[in-house]
Symmetry: D2
Subunit: 343 residues, 4 copies
Amino acid sequence: LEPVAVVGASGYSGEELVRLLSRHPGVDLVALTSRQLAGQTVETVFPKFAGLRYSQLAFIESSVDKIVATGARTVFLALPHGVAAEYAKPLVDAKLRVIDLSADFRIKDAAVYQEFYGEAAHAPELAAISVYGLPEIYREQIRNAQLVASPGCYPTSAIVPLYPLLKRRMLKPESIIINSLSGVSGAGRTAKVDYLYVECNESVRAYSVPKHRHLAEIEQELSNAYGEDVTVSFVPHLIPVNRGIATTIHATPADGIGLAEISQAYKEAYANEPFVRLLGEKGTPDTKNVTFTNFIDVAWRHDPRTGRMVLLSAEDNLVKGAAGQAVQSLNVMCGWPETTALL
Amino acid sequence: LEPVAVVGASGYSGEELVRLLSRHPGVDLVALTSRQLAGQTVETVFPKFAGLRYSQLAFIESSVDKIVATGARTVFLALPHGVAAEYAKPLVDAKLRVIDLSADFRIKDAAVYQEFYGEAAHAPELAAISVYGLPEIYREQIRNAQLVASPGCYPTSAIVPLYPLLKRRMLKPESIIINSLSGVSGAGRTAKVDYLYVECNESVRAYSVPKHRHLAEIEQELSNAYGEDVTVSFVPHLIPVNRGIATTIHATPADGIGLAEISQAYKEAYANEPFVRLLGEKGTPDTKNVTFTNFIDVAWRHDPRTGRMVLLSAEDNLVKGAAGQAVQSLNVMCGWPETTALL
Amino acid sequence: LEPVAVVGASGYSGEELVRLLSRHPGVDLVALTSRQLAGQTVETVFPKFAGLRYSQLAFIESSVDKIVATGARTVFLALPHGVAAEYAKPLVDAKLRVIDLSADFRIKDAAVYQEFYGEAAHAPELAAISVYGLPEIYREQIRNAQLVASPGCYPTSAIVPLYPLLKRRMLKPESIIINSLSGVSGAGRTAKVDYLYVECNESVRAYSVPKHRHLAEIEQELSNAYGEDVTVSFVPHLIPVNRGIATTIHATPADGIGLAEISQAYKEAYANEPFVRLLGEKGTPDTKNVTFTNFIDVAWRHDPRTGRMVLLSAEDNLVKGAAGQAVQSLNVMCGWPETTALL
Amino acid sequence: LEPVAVVGASGYSGEELVRLLSRHPGVDLVALTSRQLAGQTVETVFPKFAGLRYSQLAFIESSVDKIVATGARTVFLALPHGVAAEYAKPLVDAKLRVIDLSADFRIKDAAVYQEFYGEAAHAPELAAISVYGLPEIYREQIRNAQLVASPGCYPTSAIVPLYPLLKRRMLKPESIIINSLSGVSGAGRTAKVDYLYVECNESVRAYSVPKHRHLAEIEQELSNAYGEDVTVSFVPHLIPVNRGIATTIHATPADGIGLAEISQAYKEAYANEPFVRLLGEKGTPDTKNVTFTNFIDVAWRHDPRTGRMVLLSAEDNLVKGAAGQAVQSLNVMCGWPETTALL
């Protein structure tokens, strides 16, 4: 059994990690840490986990020494950006494997991090060695990574449908416009008036227009796919569901590219991927079909009236968009079947 | 008092008309009709209206003769498309004023109606004399109209932010991409599994991609504004709220047009409109601020990274997107203050 | 016009007061106060009120001197308990009329306040002169009151259906069991994790079992009705709606009392009340029929199998359960039609 | 592998059975039947199951011969009452084991069935041999049953907290009052206006007062526990969540019984039950902690003011209240660990 720790397990992503790791046959969860919750058991903090495998495990303090002392060999960091880097550095130095769910190591270019996050990159030397934890694209690099930068929720929902098409230069990159709708768990378990039930229920609103932080990550990966700098439009919206992201992408195909080529590209890229479900030219992704799963559903249309493609995706922001994808990377790193604990 | 009838008052738009007309000091609601509900009182059908002005009014059958016999001078039609035309023709012949909430008279070009609705236009001769009931654009024509084609919910949310900019040729029309998110009341009070609580709650999905019927109406009005045929992309989404549409529009400004010109155009167009609230370059429309009101909130951003504008709007699909706007037209037609019963 | 101030207008009840007073033809809202919001306009704080009557009114600081200086003759206090008393005392001394929405003056017996609120009564001398602001019961006393203690949301939903039956000694008081289900706005606009969207959505839970603070108020009024001390069971539940309380009461009728007597008692008590809608022996209160209104719907059943009555009510916790009822008291105090601004 | 069929798999309970059986290592799902869906694959009907174990399984017609021909040894019936009996009879004759999720075999007394369901019992001879499928009470009988009548959702939520106390004669049975709040999936996947999203969202309402059908089943089992006829009050409410039942029970303890005895009784009855989580004298069941699980959470309070106990429970109506409990019975019948596929 792989001894695993989760640092910062009090938020929604941390909680989801506990849920997934509880049913993972290859994992021994040796530590959960949280500054506020130290000393409390899992079932006290998360009553829903009472009666399950780790219900009696007590949270410990979030100290690197204590984490190392537990014998953990792989550590998930479910911490705010900036804080994650503080833990990642000593853990990597101690030769532990780190799967970080924050933004700290996703952005390879420190200037881009500075631009989008408004502060200096926290550990550019680690960002340099990190692997972007999207197994559908970086599976081989994840296999031997010591530090995985697990992707953001919006970026996953946009990169999965766009990457194979840009890689094959089937879209005009400057035409790409991404609209995303996210459930409220994306805002985290933080006591802010804006995320109170009454403020979110019966409410729909765009936010962070036109420059949400996740653009940094989206454009980095789309540029990698295309081989040139790609700049896109992205507008996220907050909608009253607990979980789920639905993303709608508009893009103009490259000259000579039609529906058949797009469909073929998706088949080549994803037909064998266990977590990418291709719904095709007629299917419709719906968040209710993917919540509580690690699937991302993808469908596409051609609009002969405008000549544009519409790409649609749906995922659970806490699973494929966070904890599930992180466990998927763990499975890759450990050489286990990639679907372990995720189906 | 203006004697008014509502035909087909059993759906959500009809119910909303009753709510608004109940508090209208200039109106005498003389008839509500419904095939299924004939003989029942308002308070039996809509328990929420018990104790209000028309709670004891009984529904009558939806026959033109009976409607005319009530002495109604203005008739609202809240009927499915196709059916509306059957009523509009004899009512117009009988010299009554008709405010139709269906699509039957919105589309001036019968071929376009055929293309988008999959059936022949039901009364092209009436479509020819109808006025599109968006007072912010057609106020003067509405004043003397005998037949008003009250706009659709999505079209209102898109046309209000786009019209003044296209009129001034400030946007490149081929760049326009419209994403809309609508509450479930937009689907009507119809017993279909797709709209059950359990099927819509914790669900988000795009639908009718890429050719929703409302495109016909949106493009007609945007073409009117621009003076040339305009073709746009439009993707609607169903989201779990009762009421409200949030629309996010991406468009590239014409050469030489920047944020200042856009802001100025909005001020010129709407500063004196009682129901268009300009939230400016920093505000964010949120459906919770407009539900149960006739307001449409509009904001806008310039994205220097892509050069595009993002236009944002929010409205209540049943009020500004349906019944409220129809009452606004009534106020115009009757020469009353336009906000009567609507603030 | 009556000059009116609202103190502590930043919460949900305060916001609802602004909404109702905005359409009140007899009121001139001369001041809104809030420590945090001083200097900001209504439309900045509550974007939904942009374009309405008081949108440009600026919040002032919550100082008694400043309130008095505005010329207000009636002051609504929408403050936490304890804080309300601090304002009420000097305002009453200054001969202003005060309508307090907190619990500070509802409980006549200081020992009971101490027992349920865990602190000494804040101004027992004012509690002694206050009138419990339920117009259906205390209309005459409200008319000349200087200090109205506007009822709590749960108490209103329980007292309205129980009072006339206890007054007539038609129920065995020791048999009364009250279950209530409340929307989340009842918890106030306070940034607490427990009331985040994700924590309340898809969640139902009882709380404060078996001794919620509102029991003090419920029992006081039921005892007044019955003429002897009445002790009841009360269990509130939090449910995922913004607004609305549904209350289900079980009670055994007194000997010789049946459905006919109960129905007759309700008719005697409430047939002429504009805000109590009697749905009778077959109707079913539903919060969706009362939200955004000042109505309370009441229905009842007899269960021959157990011999018990079931009494059902529904109200909007922010309107009949708070701001609307307070405005109803204002109307009574000012001699206006009681439904002014409330229908 | 046990060959298993699910008859009537198009509803919410049937869908949940498919979800649970998909991850059951001891089961081979050999047939799913549905009149309307015959010929379609699981993933076509339930897109959420695409990529999972039975996604390609095609529905067959609901004919007994065809079911028997699949080699199924155990058959789940997820059919309306009345229809279930038609299938159960020939299947039992064919020596298959049947786990019925309808009410057809729950009620032992045909007169009671007639009273509550308004029609004659459909197969009283089978009701006579059926076992009520609540493993916490009837585990031994389930082990060798040929026909299991799996309990209703509300009854499970009430019987689990009440049974051990009545068995020990710790409550006065005539004092029992049960209030339940259920999510909308309890109404089934049926196209009715009452269960549309817009009709249920922002709505809370009691229904079937005072004589819901599930009373028959609740009283039968409570009478079994107590050894004498027990008659109780029961009021169900519909609340806007997809899944979950919260039940609040009021009851007076028998003379000499206090909190300590109640707590002890629960420990005796349930300390070793894997799916009953005792939250004790301070915990609070919340449906969000049990949805998508087979757990039922139970807590209790003593109210010294009234002398009553309050018993609280929460379960997922589709899991412990339907499909999960049925699989739990399957596990018992097959001699597998009772938690298989359920944790």
